[in-house]
């Protein structure tokens, strides 16, 4: 109602005969809508060019193996699909630390020793980088901070909530450590029973990258493409206690690679008396499931 009033108000073009003017506007709008319905002219009277999506990249949504084995998976709705849009970075190799993280992440994903993954994706592999992603069907738009710098008047859309199985990050981190210490130790972890407790993480997206996995039948790996988000995790200093679910953090932690499917939505932050509070408008699956 308020919006309707505002619309009429903006369209009063006569100060002298405002009421006649209002009547005329309301009538002409009704007639136009009526004609649109009668003759099916919605597209023809929609005076805007079709939006070009030539530069967008859509991948079939990457189903992470861990998620699909998840006994709770039936609770969540079908996986979203994302669209990556420019700004697009040049195709370059990853910094070594990020590459190591990627190897560890993929090793977890395929449940293969990192040595195999390293052979498939050597250090000098070039990746496509993107600076923005949005979820189809009206989901959030997310910015990757390294490729899409924050303008002085814009609002920060780079912090997100990630809902992932609890072991996902830890496992990856462990693997990195172990890789650095002793590569052979992976073998022992290969048949590790995965644990499926969903956990929320918050962090800042640095970049989106497309990882193309080559076909490797000898290892049982099929060619596939995944979208990963490099996310700098926040270190929660005061976890949420009440139902307002405000988490506080003071510092950012290590960078992780997360399947884009696990990135759920953007979150807001408020700086309050020296701390950052994370505000999350969505309901977390993790919380729903962990505390039934």
């Amino acid at each position: 109602m308020e919006r309707h009033c505002g619309d009429i108000l903006r369209n009063i073009r006569s100060r002298r005969f405002p009421y006649a003017n209002i009547n005329k506007y309301v009538t002409s709008r009704a007639q136009l809508t009526h004609i649109t319905l009668l003759y099916g002219l919605y597209e023809k009277l929609h005076l805007l060019p079709a939006v070009s999506h030539a530069q967008d990249v859509k991948l079939p949504s990457c189903k992470s193996s861990v998620m699909s084995m998840n006994p709770l998976a039936h609770c969540s709705e079908p996986d979203p699909s994302y669209v990556l849009t420019p700004p697009k970075g040049p195709e370059t190799a990853l910094p070594v630390s990020l590459w190591l993280t990627l190897i560890a992440t993929l090793a977890t994903r395929f449940d293969k020793p990192a040595s195999i993954i390293r052979r498939l994706i050597p250090k000098n592999t070039r990746f496509a980088h993107y600076g923005r992603a949005y979820q189809l069907d009206g989901g959030d738009t997310m910015h990757a901070r390294e490729l899409n710098s924050l303008r002085s008047d814009s609002r920060d859309m780079s912090f997100v909530r990630v809902t992932a199985p609890l072991n996902c990050f830890m496992h990856a981190n462990l693997l990195v450590l172990q890789y650095q210490l002793d590569v052979d130790k992976f073998a022992r972890r290969r048949h590790r029973v995965p644990e499926f407790e969903l956990q929320d993480f918050f962090g800042q997206i640095l970049r989106f990258l497309i990882v193309n996995i080559p076909h490797a039948p000898e290892h049982g790996i099929e060619a596939d493409s995944f979208i990963y988000a490099a996310i700098k995790q926040v270190k929660i200093s005061e976890p949420a206690t009440d139902h307002c679910r405000i988490n506080y953090y003071e510092d950012l932690g290590p960078t992780e690679l997360v399947d884009l499917d696990q990135v759920k939505c953007v979150v807001g932050r408020i700086t309050d008396r020296g701390k950052w509070a994370i505000i999350d408008r969505s309901k977390s699956l993790a919380q729903v499931h962990v505390m039934p």
């Binding site: 209002i22 099916g40 953007v266």
Partner: protein, 587 residues
């Protein structure tokens, strides 16, 4: 029947004309600019405005019906006033000096041809199947169609006048559910003059579309300069059409390609409190019996000459009134008693009797809309969530916290925040604008210094997301924060896309408790001397929080960024009210 040839081809010249006209209407070009287009783009075959309008009217096949009305918009000369030559309220002549030309017009846009056109357009008709296709789950409330009013209508026969028709409400999947809304707005900066647009919403459309601008059915604007003194005379043509639609009008169904009897029923009416009071012919929110849902009575401020009435639950300590209302046992109105009281007032034997009864009941007469059997008084007239919470309750709470609530002694009260603290909260609010993504809604201005810039939307964002952080640890006593956070919890629950019956009970009890605690806090500290507006509104809250309706304003302005409900694992429907009329809990 109108020309309803779907997809009938228009030739290129008609399309050119319509495109130019669409540009004018959508972007608010003045008539002068439109006439200039021909000369600005000489190659384009744009016709003059006069010819264009003529052609548009011909193509649309319908035009507004003009009714005479009083130039100070007291009444419209319809129904009982049809043959009058002077306004019954202000005695101004109906016609100009020539005795022929009326002084003012009310232009009414008929709805029947438009509803027909909707069903004759196959893609639109398919969208309108939402109502019949949705599955009702008795344990959950996701839409107005889960409310008890709609559910009980489905088991009722349509009644027109005293005659019961052999049809059930909504027995045909194509039957349309409508909602009515009206509100006054000032066309000029000094808001001394008001115009009253009347609109209908088509509830057969899916919830994410029904409040979009293009889907709103505008039926006319009651011209200013004053608030109509008899609104029902302006509703006369609408009610006539709605009665016809209750009986049924022939229409063409584009999906099955058959002619059928189209029914449409008005099931809900909403707006702010003054507008709905006017529609229901009630005395309004300052009356002795101010509430449309119950017969709670107001009390005046002791030792004050102001005649405004307030309705706190707890009456102890007020002169001439004792005891208290219990929020779970309020004296609710029902349809039969409402209509009976309205009739009693309408047919009062003398003026004095009329005044006495009207004051007693808070009703001024039988509203015209009561002739529609699809409406039930007062449950079809729920309180509007946006006005109730975001433009009344929250601003009032803020006034209380900042010690600016009118006429209240705030000195030394521990619920008041120090000015410096409030200033800091205001600044932190502005700064949060940069780090809260646009998906949350618009930026919130400095709530401490730019109060005038705050809108319902920014109030809601501030309350739900920003305030719980910024108010933490700011009150002298933590209980005030806890009390506020409890409110946030309840409001968040109200805004879920889907609520269960268990949650409805939680809401009901939660709001009752919240108001009782509120009154305890405020009354205790102010030694029982106040009765303030806030209480009036919070009392409404308890009764009516579970009678929420979607607020069209919030819907429309933000549906573009419709949150991805399922994918984002159950986002709170911040901008998409759960659209509920849960009358079930009001027993």
């Amino acid at each position: 029947m109108d020309v309803l040839i779907e997809g009938a081809l228009l030739d290129e010249s008609d399309l050119t004309l319509l495109r130019a006209y669409a540009l004018k209407v959508e972007d608010g070009l003045t008539d002068k600019t439109f006439n200039k287009l021909r000369y600005a783009f000489p190659q384009s075959p744009i016709d003059s405005l006069k010819n264009t309008e003529k052609r548009v009217q011909f193509l649309s096949g319908f035009q507004p019906v003009r009714y005479h009305c009083c130039p100070s918009s007291c009444v419209c000369y319809t129904g009982p006033y049809e043959s009058l030559t002077k306004c019954p309220k202000c005695n101004i002549d109906r016609h100009k000096a020539d005795g022929m030309t009326p002084q003012a017009y009310y232009e009414y846009l008929p709805i029947i041809p438009r509803l027909r056109a909707m069903l004759a357009n196959s893609s639109y008709a398919r969208k309108m199947q939402y109502r019949s296709n949705r599955q009702h789950d008795p344990m959950k409330i996701t839409d107005i169609f889960d409310g008890t009013h709609y559910r009980s209508l489905r088991e009722t026969f349509v009644t027109v006048g005293d005659e019961e028709l052999p049809t059930w409400f909504f027995s045909d999947p194509r039957d349309i559910a409508l909602g009515l809304s009206t509100d006054g707005f000032g066309p000029f900066k000094r808001r001394t003059k008001t115009a009253w647009p009347i609109i209908l919403f088509n509830y057969n459309l899916p919830p994410e579309e029904r409040f979009l601008k293009g889907n709103v059915i505008s039926i006319g604007v009651i011209p200013g300069p004053k608030k109509p003194s008899d609104l029902d005379s302006f509703f006369w043509p609408l009610v006539q059409e709605l009665l016809q639609l209750e009986i049924g009008v022939s229409a063409f169904d584009a999906i099955t390609k058959v002619t059928f009897l189209l029914h449409a029923y008005l099931i809900v009416v909403f707006g702010d409190i003054p507008a709905v009071s006017m529609i229901m012919r009630m005395k309004g929110h300052n009356a002795i019996s101010p509430c449309r849902m119950c017969t709670i009575t107001g009390i005046r401020i002791p030792s004050s000459r102001v005649t405004v009435h307030y309705v706190p639950l707890c009456r102890d300590g007020f002169p001439n009134s004792q005891g208290q209302y219990h929020p779970s046992a309020l004296p609710l109105r029902d349809h039969a008693s409402f209509i009976e009281q309205a009739k009693e007032v309408q047919y009062a034997s003398s003026n004095a009797d009329f005044e006495r009864l009207a004051t007693k009941y808070g009703i001024k007469g039988v509203p015209l809309l009561s002739t529609l059997s699809s409406l039930s008084f007062p449950v079809s007239f729920p309180y509007d969530f946006m006005h109730l919470i975001w433009t009344n309750l929250i601003p009032n709470l803020i006034l209380l916290w900042t010690g600016k609530f009118k006429d209240l002694p705030h000195d030394g009260e521990d619920y008041v925040l120090a000015p410096a603290v409030w200033q800091a909260i205001g600044e932190a609010t502005v700064n949060a604008g940069k780090t809260i993504p646009a998906a949350f809604g618009s930026r919130v201005p400095n709530i401490a210094s730019e109060k005038a810039q705050m809108t319902a939307e920014t109030h809601s964002i501030w309350t739900l997301y920003i305030a719980p952080t910024l108010l933490k640890g700011r009150f002298v006593q933590a209980r005030y924060y806890k009390h506020f956070v409890e409110l946030v919890r309840l409001l968040t629950l109200c805004l879920e896309f889907e609520i269960t019956q268990v949650q409805v009970q939680d809401l009901e009890r939660g709001f009752q408790r919240w108001v009782q605690v509120y009154e305890r806090y405020v009354f205790l500290v102010s030694s029982r001397t106040l009765s303030d507006r806030l209480t009036a509104y919070t009392t409404n809250t308890i009764r009516c929080a579970w009678l929420l309706v979607p607020s069209p304003f919030m819907h429309c302005c933000t549906l573009r960024r419709l949150s991805k409900l399922w994918v984002q694992s159950g986002l709170i429907g911040h901008f998409q009210w759960s659209a509920i009329v849960v009358t079930s809990s009001v027993t």
